[in-house]
Amino acid sequence: MSVLGALVLLTALGAAPDAADPLAGSPNLQFRVVEPKPFADALRHELVLSPFVPQVGSTFTTHWLTSLTYTFHATEWLGLRIQPFWVWHAQRSRFSSELLSRVRQDAAAASSVMLHWGAVAAPEWAPLRGKFAAFGGTVRYGLVLFAGAGVGQTEIELKTADAVGPATYGSTGLRMVATGGAGFRVQLGDRFTVRLEVQDLIHWGSVSHINGCDATDLRVLNDQHTAGTVTGAGVSAQCTVGAFQGTAGGYDRANDLGIAQAKVSEGGTDTLHVVGIYLGFGVEL
């Protein structure tokens, strides 16, 4: 039997209808259950850890992240959530890598920007509730919807990992991140919750700076590299020259200057979606 089949079997709904109920079907009366919520949420705090969030449906990038969501439930239906996240695995997608290796075609710079870390805040609405019977008890769940905004640190891959050295990345700065999502929140007793949500982290814009250096800075640095040494003389104060100096795994970081200059010069903008499946385990205080 499949897991779904077992679940359906376990959720055999309530008890059988009472065939002898003489009031069933009377047009002159109606019944409704008005039941106090067994575990009230209002004015309570919820912390949910989603340890592994895979990105789904991406074309050029792959993100794996960890998220911690704090939700203050102002009422039974409304809450405010603050959600920091950390992307611990971000690289170009397999499709993008194959595009590069087989036809020497790289994705547009604006489409290749990846999130590194960030935080979003959003009001949360729980408009619908339901329950099912399982393991001899009743499990309550609710549909949650949320939308909000925040900020996120972004980066772009400058060099893929190959025989010459590891992959290298350049910071593309702090960007505004919009978010929206929906999911189900299951309550396990008074204290514990499990959430399964789909959430989109949206960021957009062009690649105008890499490691704080604009096109002019990068041209100057690239010229210095061609001349022999990247000194950093003559670039703007925001330009982090150190990011192009030294080596990473035997790879000379100054070699990134050419590709960085090319990406900054590319122009164009894009709106990027990091759609993730968030399976989180929470505790309510």
Binding site: L13, G14, A15, A16, P17, D18, A20, D21, P22, L23, A24, S26, P27, N28, L29, Q30, F31, R32, V33, V34, E35, P36, K37, P38, A40, A42, T75, E76, W77, R129, K131, A133, T138
Partner: protein, 475 residues
Amino acid sequence: MRRLFPLLAVLGALGCAKKGPSPELLAVARAADTTPADALALGQALQAAHLDAASLGPLRSAGGAPGPAQAAAVEALLAAQEGLDEQLLVPAFLAGHPDAQPTSPGRQERALLLRGLEAQRQGALEQAESNLRRIPATSPLAPRARYALGIVLSDPRRPGGPRMRAALDELQAVLGYGGGGRERAETRALAQLGIARLLYGLGQDAASAAAYDRVPRDARVWPESLFERGYPRFRAGDDGGALGTVHATRAPQLRNAFLPEARILEATVLFHACLYPETRNVLDGFSASYRPLSERLQGLVDRRPSAAEEVALLADPAQRASLGEGLGGSLVAESRIDAGLRLLRALEEERAQLAVAGGGGPALEQLERVRAEAEQATAQAIHARLADVSASLRDLLEQADVLRFEMTKGEKELLDADLDQRKLLAARPLPPLPTGGPADERWRVDGEWWSDEIGHERATLKDGCPAQKSTPSVR
């Protein structure tokens, strides 16, 4: 070696079992009980051999005879009563021997409680009150005693009349005793139900409904409280609340609860709203279920079956189920009947052990006497309840007939007034259903019975009377 230990232990136990009864058991099986001292020694030896039920006989013999063995015998008898939770023979013995006292203060309190409960059962309310009041509030038996005292104080037969406020105070005090496991939780639930009933008797409908709501859902008396709380709601004019709570007693989860009165209350609420076809349906269903049961019970009570037959009626699952409508289950759950059946089972088990130990002997003879008495007392308890239920059912069937008559009168009045009730009802919209507060969940009632929803049902119903009434809400 550590892995072999459990195996060796099991083999050792089996070896001992194969050897037969223990030396203690062999000794007591043949011991004499001719004097109170002998009887005490026999009773104590039976207790030492974990034969508490068998020890009741010799200990009663020793405890009933004044002399040096009496106090020790009563002490041991109360220990056996506590271990068995025996509620028939020992209380009757104590009531019949008011001078027999145990030695320890704890057992003295137990004796007071059992004497008080027995006096209450026999209607000697003054004696009951006097005994129960002597149990200190700090005693572990205080919750049970104060609950019984509350019931005694509220009894209309009490000399000097009932003292409702004092009774409420005693019952409220019971709720203040925490912990204590299943028995104390049961006492608290009974006290809560008692409070709700007293408040209803005092006409405090809102407080009574709220008190009924506080009876714990896992309590034995919860189904009873569920239907009873329809009364204060109905009297307060909350027809929807009353109908909702009574309708919930149809849930299959409550099939083991015997609640015929719930159907009469349901029909009464519907009749009050002049919903005659619905009233008739409920009454027809009630009569179809309970008239045959009433006739069967009447026959049974009039026939006065033997004690063994009456005990078998409840002890045998098949016979119990044949009573129908949850009656068997509800009778077995009653504490005196439950205690009697448990004692009989314990006596059967111990008789088998004694028979293996050596056949015959005073211990076995005493056990047979106790068994006969226990069977008689249990049968009496069963018979009394069957007679109560039979009388109550006859009364309810008469109420159903009265409702039918009143309904026919109402229908005739509609005809005389040339009113078509179907058109009248079709023209009137259903009043809105209650929505509850922000922390409430609302569920549709669509034929499924969820355990957690039972007791939270509310109804809205049209008023089919020519002149509409308003239906205020209790909560």
